[in-house]
Amino acid sequence: MEMKEVYLDNSATTKVAKEAVDAMVHALTVAFGNPSSLHRKGMEAEKIVNKAREKLALFLGGKAREIYFTSGGTESNNLAIKGAAYARRRYGKHLITTSIEHPSVLEVFKQLEEEGFSVTYLGVDEKGHINLEELKQVIKPDTIIVSIMYVNNEVGSIQPIQDAAKIISQNKNTLFHVDAVQAFGKIPLIPNLSGVHLMSLSAHKIYGPKGVGALFVRERTKITPLFNGGGQEEGLRSGTENVPGIAGFSAAAELVFKNFGAWQAKMKELKDRLKTGILSEIPDTILNGPDDGAPHILNISFLGTKAEVLLHALESHGIYVSTGSACSSHKSAKSHVLAAMGKTAEEIESAIRFSLSPFLSIEDIDYTVEILKKEVNELRKYIRR
């Protein structure tokens, strides 16, 4: 008998939609040309890329020429932050970000610190939200970049991007970068990206392929490229375009935006059911993050268990989740997000992240709660001492 499979790790990556696969196969086998080639085969490929650019711009609320394709979220974040820091260093050396960013943001800031920039890390409250008052206090005339994630990948907290943009736009030298990898296609973004200069996107979190993403760069915003080469993407991102990836990204985005309202509502319903099921039926469980938050991310600590063991126990029932920490004794294996929210060691070590997709059913959720009840109870026998 085939084991039931409940994939609850959609913030790690998603299953590629058939629409995206079809678009990719076409780009791989029919329109396989190099967009830079002068002949018809090249034009065919170039058209795919340009169409994709237009579609993404439409969904995002920007212009086609503001979309630059990259190899994914990590590259987009690197390009945005390093590119902006290097291009604007003559205006100042102060940077601001938050303490709960993705490593592809935090590590970039760490490197910039080593290169002589100074970085202020905004704290978060116990629900994972930044404090706008703190932002107001630390922003200075020589602040050149503020980088804030839209939706946190571990706990699903949504940052007040619109209000932050208002504060930041009072400083004419400050660029605002938003890592929207977990937000795009999952929650409504601020209209016309008003006040945002740079925004990172990824395809594989929205049912597109891995290895492709995009960076929104507002018109007339100058940033320094990371790669030198053939001058593709207006010279901002040299390298032959990943046409199949871009085709898949665009097809996936189209699917998501066609179903946006329905899918958002569906995920919210599933998340609420999962949350209520766990918190009411399993004792000693704690919600990490906001009560509402993004509709697809739920983080809960199962006190008296170890997250990694619970993860493997769930895996044996076909349920796939992720953890806030690994069993490893290394300190770096513990979630910096949960730590920044002031969670205790026991809460962090037992935290499980469930991330949903609209392709799950109510039965899947109920099955998950049932299995969790059983496995948590079993594991507590050995671990709680």
């Binding site: 170890k306 493997h312 895996e315 044996s316 490893s328 050995y382 001492r385």
Partner: protein, 388 residues
């Protein structure tokens, strides 16, 4: 002229009447190690093994360096038995090493006395030929950078390099033992050391999903792949240990848990060993390294062993073990962070000096025989080769 490899073997040359037995196994091992290369031909004469094989020299040497029993490897030229052929073979051999600005001497050995020229004269003539044809070389008979060796046997052989082999005895010449492999740094090294003495090994790994992840099991398989490079194949017995671990964890006294676990592992391992014809167990224990490896803990673990338990690392410091692991090629795999979550069972304050009476008393509440039987019914056998 032909490229060949001259192999020397040290210790097994001393084995008197058993010598043909060791040599036969060594030749078999060499053939296994070079399997897949074209034109393989392995021959032995007095004190030497000749290998003819096509294939890149680096790769051939790399593989031969993992065959226990080989002491030296010399890539050599073989040629017809006349002085002109020997001279040109010697010239070719020197051209293959970095000779510019170096000193050399020629050392000849004439075991084939039907060859008309005597050793010192061969050396002179070959040396003169090299000097005449290559610039930038000087003779130094006392302290040469390059020693050009000429051997006159049924054919002529010339070589300038001698790469050290791993030494030891050919695997399979000294019976079989079962290695308790954990995925950590120590146990693969222990397996290597016993294999080096000619012992064939199989391995046992105790898998405790979900307390150890499948990645931890993959890691153990990877370690077996590296070890298989030294012996062609490792049979890995994966014991499903979860139920035993759970019951020990639930009912056992916390501070003795590790000892109880290890005693169960030894008991189960020796049942497997008996089944597969292994005459001993091998562990990576080193005195005092962790709480379960104090003298008292080792005594408690050893008490249940009816087979000899080989502990080749017993007197090694951690740094020494790490150096060896790096040399063997297991270190990088061992330190991958898929730590086993068994550590959740590890008590905060384990007994470092367990008393046997306490251990016996703690074990009274368990059906030890049942544990063993259940575990033996639940074994996955994986045959791991280097290319697994």
């Amino acid at each position: 002229m032909e490229n060949i490899y001259l192999l020397s073997f040290g210790e097994i040359g001393l084995k008197g009447e058993n010598r043909p037995f060791f040599e036969r196994i060594l030749i078999k091992r060499i053939k296994q190690a070079l399997e897949g290369f074209e034109g393989l031909d392995v021959k032995k004469t007095h004190g030497r093994i000749y290998v003819r094989v096509a294939g890149p020299q680096d790769e051939v040497i790399e593989r031969l360096r993992k065959v226990f029993g080989i002491v030296g490897i010399s890539p050599a030229k073989s040629c017809d038995l006349d002085i002109e052929s020997i001279k040109s073979a010697a010239l070719e051999a020197v051209k293959e090493v970095d000779y510019k600005g170096k000193t050399f001497k020629v050392e000849s050995r004439r075991t084939n006395k039907s060859f008309p020229i005597k050793s010192p004269d061969i050396s002179c003539m070959v040396g003169a030929h090299i000097l005449k044809n290559l610039k930038g070389l000087k003779v130094d008979v006392h302290n040469p950078d390059i020693e050009v060796n000429v051997e006159v046997r049924e054919k002529g052989f010339v070589y300038c390099k001698r790469i050290p082999g791993p030494g030891g005895l050919p695997v399979g010449s000294n019976g079989k033992a079962l290695l308790l492999l954990s995925g950590g740094i120590d146990s693969p090294v222990a397996g290597y050391m016993v294999m080096k003495r000619g012992v064939a090994i199989e391995a046992v790994y105790f898998h405790s999903f979900p307390f150890t992840s499948d990645r931890a099991k993959e890691k153990v398989i990877e370690l077996c792949r590296v070890l298989a490079g030294y012996c062609s194949k490792i049979r890995l017995h994966v014991v499903n240990f979860t139920d035993v671990l759970k019951e020990l964890g639930e009912k056992g006294p916390n501070e003795l848990l590790t000892i109880l676990m290890r005693r169960m592992m030894v008991r189960i391992s020796q049942e497997i060993a008996t089944k597969i014809g292994a005459k001993a167990l091998i562990t990576g224990e080193s005195i005092g390294q962790v709480a379960s490896q104090t003298m008292e803990a080792l005594v408690a673990t050893n008490e249940v062993a009816r087979l000899p338990v080989f502990r080749p690392l017993i007197g090694f410091d951690k740094v020494e073990i790490i150096d060896l692991a790096k040399k063997i090629g297991t270190y990088g795999i061992s330190i991958e962070p898929y730590a086993d979550c068994c550590s959740i069972f590890v008590p905060e304050h384990p007994k470092t000096r367990p008393k046997l009476d306490d251990v016996h008393k703690a074990e009274e509440r368990f059906d030890i025989k049942g544990f063993i039987e259940k575990s033996l019914d639940n074994i996955e056998l994986i045959e791991v080769t280097e290319s697994y």
